[in-house]
């Protein structure tokens, strides 16, 4: 009898478990826009027959809440269908694992035929001959005139271009706020200055609500999702370009130290953020917003996708109350108050070893062009209101709900783009920066000390290697 009860219980559990993904899939369709969901890639004649290795991080799980990943997977599948003689061998990993594995393969000189290159690795990998110079190939692309040229910047070393920027241009810093909660607090829209946010925090703290949820448990969030934009408000764009070029800017410059000082003030001397911001990740912090424990959240486009998808399923009213705003402006900042860091962090790159086989190289180039070309761009624009490398004329936003339209306008129309710090320079520098930022936001380090240590790492790991590479070339 006991066995029978147990088997019934187990069967019920199995049925329930099977039902969950089925429900998830049916709700996922509701988040999609008006697009047909069909990708039509160019069916160019390719002489190559055989296998082609590609490594990427658009997993099926990721593609359920990320339009860029869905577009990538769908375009790749369409390309495979268009070229039945080529067998595409995919190695798909989650983003964190992808970064580790691709670095390991690069170290071993064993990269796949086609892979995704992270902006900050461009100079180093190019100097080591790990990535093919695609400058002429990109200029000869049939879609070249429609490419948004700014997106190439992280993948350039001098005049040479090493990849086709891929996926969708997404902001790394967006304030997502609950319009209804802020209206109750007396704000028709999100405050434009930190001083006003601080005043609002008195109201929210009295109500036991966190004003802005933020998560820096992974250490990179304070840099990518905050400092990169806040720094631009103090330094402007030329300062960072000079850092990339190694032509004079320093992390110890007064204006950058002022940005760090403001950041320390906001996190340690005000009650704006959740107390555990330094030990929870962005994934935890966005749950505070979703559950109503926080009136706003700061994160990247990946967080926006998750919050929108979750609220659309669970709380339609709260979904309709989502508002987007740029990072508020500090009182002593003098640069563009409307900036937000946006870009494409990865590019489709080709292993130089492929050049030995001309037909295979032609296939790799065709794949890279299609993964970033009009087929992909039209798909993500019509289905998700997102943009990629290739410009799509006349994106019809009317088929999308107000939240999706607002986010499109925030990302591509109403704001001024600035650079994502860690798409450039290199990971050794940002490793030091991220670690020390976390200590600084704990009140254990001074901004000047952080700036000096990051500058030291920059000189030792970036400037010196840039000089060595220049001498070698």
């Amino acid at each position: 009898m006991k066995k029978r009860v147990l088997s019934v219980a187990l069967s019920a559990a199995m049925v329930a478990a099977m039902g969950v993904p089925a429900y998830a899939e049916s709700t996922e369709a509701a988040t999609e826009g008006a697009g047909s969901g069909v990708v039509e890639v160019a069916k160019n004649d390719l002489a190559y027959k055989g296998s082609l290795d590609i490594m990427h991080f658009s997993t099926s799980e990721e593609s359920q809440a990320n339009g860029g990943s869905d577009g990538f997977r769908t375009t790749l599948a369409a390309w495979e269908d268009a070229h039945p003689d080529i067998s595409v061998e995919e190695n798909v990993l989650a983003n964190a694992e992808y970064k580790t594995q691709v670095a390991t393969l690069a170290a071993a000189g064993d990269l796949p035929d086609v892979f995704l290159l992270q902006g900050m690795n461009t100079k180093q990998w190019a100097a080591q001959g790990q990535v093919m110079d695609l400058t002429d190939i990109i200029k000869a692309s049939p879609y070249y005139k429609d490419y948004k040229q700014d997106y190439f910047t992280p993948f350039k070393d001098g005049d040479k271009i090493y990849g086709f920027p891929v996926l969708t241009g997404g902001t790394c810093t967006v304030v997502i706020y609950d319009k209804a909660m802020w209206k109750e607090a007396g704000y028709d829209k999100f405050p434009e200055t930190w001083d006003d946010v601080e005043k609002a925090s008195d109201y929210f703290n009295d109500k036991g609500v966190t004003t802005i949820a933020f998560g820096n448990g992974g250490q990179w969030q304070a840099n990518s999702d905050f400092l990169s934009t806040l720094g631009d408000r103090y330094t402007g764009k030329e300062w960072f370009q000079s850092l990339i070029d190694g032509s004079g800017s320093k992390f110890t410059d007064d204006k950058f130290v002022a940005a760090l000082t403001e950041m320390k003030h906001l996190f340690t001397e005000t009650k704006i953020f959740n107390e555990d911001f330094n030990s929870v990740t962005n994934e935890d912090a966005r749950e505070y917003y979703i559950s109503g424990d926080a009136a706003a959240f700061i994160g990247g486009n990946w967080d926006e996708s998750y919050i929108a998808t979750t609220l659309l399923d669970s709380d339609k009213d709260k979904y309709n109350n989502i508002g987007f705003a740029v990072l508020p402006q500090p009182a002593d900042a003098t640069e563009d108050p409307n900036s937000q860091n946006i870009g494409l962090g990865y590019a489709v790159a080709i292993n130089p070893k492929v050049a030995d086989d001309k037909d295979k190289l032609a296939a790799c180039i065709d794949l890279a062009q299609e993964l970033t070309g009009p087929a992909f761009a039209s798909y993500v624009a019509s289905k998700y209101a997102l943009g990629g490398l290739t410009q799509v004329a006349d994106v019809d936003l009317s088929a999308f709900d107000q939240v999706t339209q607002d986010f499109y306008n925030y990302s591509y129309v109403d704001t001024t783009p600035c650079e994502i710090y860690d798409s450039y320079i290199n990971s050794a520098v940002w490793g030091v920066c991220n670690q020390e930022l976390q200590s600084m936001l704990n009140g254990e380090m001074e901004p000047q000390q952080v700036a000096e240590d990051v500058q030291k790492a920059y000189e030792e790991n970036y400037l010196s290697s840039s000089q060595t590479e220049t001498e070698a070339s």
Partner: protein
């Protein structure tokens, strides 16, 4: 007769060749290659530049590495006391006549060591969680919300907080080893001691401990080796933070090698972990043997 059952030398070699080759390939070769790479400046990719002892010079100046080494030593000491010490006490209780449901104690004691370290890290992250964690929830229900804090963000005590799950996880593991060692002690010895009026503490310290000295030495060696390469659950709980307050050597080696793509210096750190672990294990064995020279002989 004996020669008929003794396998031929060739058979022995054939049987051994596979495991030995596997060992050489998976342990010895990476160790030697890491040693070779540690003399190069290698930021990944095919180009390596021989720099002699430059990486080792950098290692001596690397404050984060030595801070991480200090954290590993902290882990070793805390875990020898916490894991082996508590395991020994629990074994003595479980073995006592008063203990009931001994099998359940053994099973449940061992259970945490079967869970993956990543899961342990996640479970304890929830225990320490500021808003939803067990500890802060308990403090709220006993009316002491003032004692609530962001536990894993306390840089002064974060090492203690990440050590507690490690201790909890491996108590059962050492319990099983110590239990099997105690099972081999002749019961006559313990009964004689009882007749002579020895209490539980005296039996444990003056009879059981000396008789299982070699097993305890193995436990301590395992504990040191395990904690010198501690990585996974600390990585899940804090990623070495806040800042570098809970950084351990293996994590620093990982971050340098894979997040900073500095394979040459990362290899140097790996070699240093190997050498320092050997020194700590060798040193502790020497110290224990010297301290217990006259015990149990």
């Amino acid at each position: 007769m004996l020669t008929t059952i003794k396998p031929r030398r060739r058979t022995v070699i054939l049987y051994l060749i596979v495991p030995v080759a596997l060992f050489v390939f998976t342990v010895f070769v990476p160790l030697v290659t890491a040693l070779v790479y540690s003399f190069f400046e290698w930021k990944g990719g095919p180009s390596k530049q021989f720099t002699g002892l430059a990486n080792y010079q950098q290692l001596f100046r690397d404050g984060v590495f030595w801070q991480a080494f200090g954290h590993n030593i902290y882990l070793v000491v805390a875990c020898i006391i916490g894991q082996i010490g508590i395991a020994f006490i629990m074994v003595m209780f479980v073995n006592s006549r008063m203990a009931r449901l001994k099998g359940i104690h053994r099973t449940f004691g061992f259970f945490p060591s079967t869970i993956s370290a990543v899961c342990i890290g996640l479970i304890w992250s929830m225990v320490y969680h500021y808003k939803f964690g067990l500890i802060n929830w308990f403090l709220r229900i006993i009316g002491r919300p003032d004692l609530q804090q962001v536990w894993l963000n306390d840089s002064k005590h974060v090492m203690l907080y990440v050590t507690i799950p490690l201790i909890w996880q491996y108590i059962g593991y050492y319990m099983v080893i110590i239990l099997s060692a105690i099972a081999s002690i002749n019961t006559d010895v313990l009964e004689s001691a009882e007749i002579d009026g020895a209490n539980g503490f005296q039996k444990s310290v003056y009879i059981v401990l000396p008789l299982i000295r070699n097993t305890m030495l193995v436990c301590i060696t395992l504990c040191i080796a395990g904690n010198m390469k501690a990585f996974d659950n600390i990585y899940v709980m804090t990623s070495g933070g806040p800042g570098t307050s809970s950084m351990v050597m293996a994590m620093w080696g990982y971050k340098v090698s894979f997040q900073q793509s500095n394979m040459g210096y990362g290899s140097c750190i790996s070699v240093a972990i190997f050498i320092l672990s050997l020194l700590v294990i060798g040193g502790s064995q020497w110290a224990i043997k010297r301290a217990t020279r006259n015990m149990g002989d």
